[in-house]
Symmetry: C2
DNA sequence: TTGAAAGCGGTACCAC
DNA sequence: GTGGTACCGCTTTCAA
């Protein structure tokens, strides 16, 4: 049971290797008869083309590098599934690179991908990485690359992002309608995501004749449950005259909700709460969370599609693709009658 | 700015390609002087070895195929991170294959991996797939393969699994101490996981002088939130003389918890509830869930390690590695005074 | 210590 | 329509 190659088949069929190659690749000018015969033999021998050899001459690997900061957290899985969905169809495979928010790993993976000669790269740059990534732009410019979630040089690279400002706007609009007193904003670390969401939020409130003062805005250092609890505790120790909170991530919203409950503040009766992301399980919470849904699967799908287009068209102009979030109203926001 | 190959360097250094190759690979019998000189040139030219070409002659790709039924659900991410952790260290890359529980995709990916000539495979067989996978065993026997979570031919392949029976036992023991009335079991579809967990659960109850009748065992068709809700509704319509439930998955436990709450049955005051998995967010629930934790990260880490061992040692004997789960007591189970 | 040459398994050009 | 053959970029004998 040794490996069967084109040569093996050629010998058995008593034809040349090139004929075999062409037959198997359905090349037009080959006698259908021969084609059929050869395919038959190939099947019988259980022939499997050696992708490596093919990759070498075709100069492409059918491999796509996907660089993300983490997998945990329920947000990335859906994106990955969206990607997979389109990749499998086109016979590309995903090479997973999880940087774990470490600069060192990001560097490591980037050079790995350049070495591995992947056909394309999808990367969500972490804030800290933006500096680091500059080192690779010369490489990246020679290989189809898509940046996602966080915008990066949209003039040079295709970006597939979510309209965070719109998301903030939706949250603001909704809370403005549900609340009578002050409405608070809880962001993560100041940066792309939080700033954009805050901006839209503010616009919406103003449009509804509400205001959002400096003191109504709170920021955490990380988008975590603990950070949410902590900031909620701080808020509660300071003021009571609010009945709405927009948290810039579902995970933080969960922390906030937990803290409120411990202080006997009911959601949504006393305080309306809106999150951001629409993680798969927030609909299963005791009080299902109203939230701004990012189109996670679609994100993956769209960027996969765009990347493949770029790979196949050899060269193409960078696009800025902005996907729209949607508001999903569940039970953490009060319904005005 | 064209690609630099060994040849480029050879011409500049005025030596043969093989000398360059050997120098760059630190081959022993090459003059340290030449070596240094060549390495210098390579660096200046920003030479990057073409992994594809190397792969072809070395007949290995540094790629590992990972076949799992889904990524969503928070269980797999941790496993993947455990894997990545060890793979990056050893310079292997993960080729992600998400089958989405579809037989067709499983088939597709398996043949893809065989084609792609990955150096090793890690696979969690889904129940339905076990039949399908038989078709590939001839291939798999020629390539280091590890099966995980669900046991599969431990005589032929290394298996890295979790002691599900022990997990069930821990849950049983704990509930037996917390409860005074009947204790119920809610499993997923009958099969490896559910059966093992039930077995251990039963043993524990019996050891504590409790019994578990047929009617106390319920089974769902899927490990989902909805299934949990549904089964809880059924249970509630039938009997009231219970004060403990062991659900064979956290997600189902969440559904059960939700349904109980809607019927004004308090957890843990009225009913103690134990889950299985320890998904990252169950500690953040309104009533943090007592659950049997699977060592997710460790799972990934261990199987990564074992696989690499197998790859490097060329041949090795199959091992059956069983990791132990632990009980994490949180607030969904009543504490007896 | 070095280098020429033979592949690895395909693809594709160009004669026939 | 078919097949011989020259690569792709690298590793690895083996002879010099």
């Amino acid at each position: 049971m040794k490996k069967v190659t084109l040569k093996t088949i050629a010998e058995i069929a008593e034809v040349g290797v090139s004929t075999v190659s062409m037959s198997l690749n359905d090349h037009p000018n080959i006698n259908p008869e021969t084609k059929k015969r050869i395919k038959q033999i190939a099947k019988e021998l259980n022939y499997v083309p050696n992708i490596i050899a093919r990759a070498m001459v075709r100069k492409q690997t059918s491999l796509i590098g996907v660089v993300i900061p983490q997998i945990e957290g329920s947000f990335y899985p859906s994106i990955l599934e969206g990607l997979e969905d389109i990749f499998t169809e086109k016979l590309f495979s995903t090479v997973l690179c999880v940087t774990n928010h470490s600069q060192e790993k990001e560097h490591f993976y980037m050079s790995l991908l350049c070495d591995k000669h992947v056909d394309g790269i999808i990367i969500e740059p972490s804030r800290e990485f933006i500096g680091e990534i500059e080192n690779f732009t010369p490489y990246l410019e020679k290989i189809p690359t898509i940046f996602t979630l966080q915008q990066y040089k949209p003039d040079s690279f295709t970006n597939v992002i979510v309209n965070n400002e719109k998301g903030g706007f939706l949250a603001g609009e909704h809370l403005a309608e549900a609340c009578e007193e002050r409405i608070l904003f809880v962001g993560g670390p100041k940066g792309w995501y939080t700033n954009q969401r805050l901006k839209g939020f503010q616009v919406a409130l103003e449009k509804k004749g509400r205001s959002l003062s400096q003191e109504d805005c709170h920021f955490t250092t990380r988008y975590t449950y603990e950070a949410g609890r902590k900031v909620a505790a701080e808020i509660l120790s300071q003021k009571q005259d609010f009945d709405g909170i927009f948290a810039a991530s579902d995970i933080m919203a969960m922390g906030i909700m937990h803290e409120l409950r411990e202080k006997n503040i009911r959601v949504p009766e006393d305080v309306s709460l809106v999150g951001f992301d629409d993680l798969p399980f927030v609909s299963m919470l005791e009080v299902p969370l109203t939230t701004v849904a990012q189109p996670q699967f679609e994100l993956g799908n769209v960027m996969g599609q765009k990347l493949i287009e770029q790979i196949e068209e050899y060269h193409s102009t960078p696009e800025l693709i902005v996907l729209e979030p949607t508001l999903i109203v569940r039970q953490s926001t009060r319904k005005r009658i």
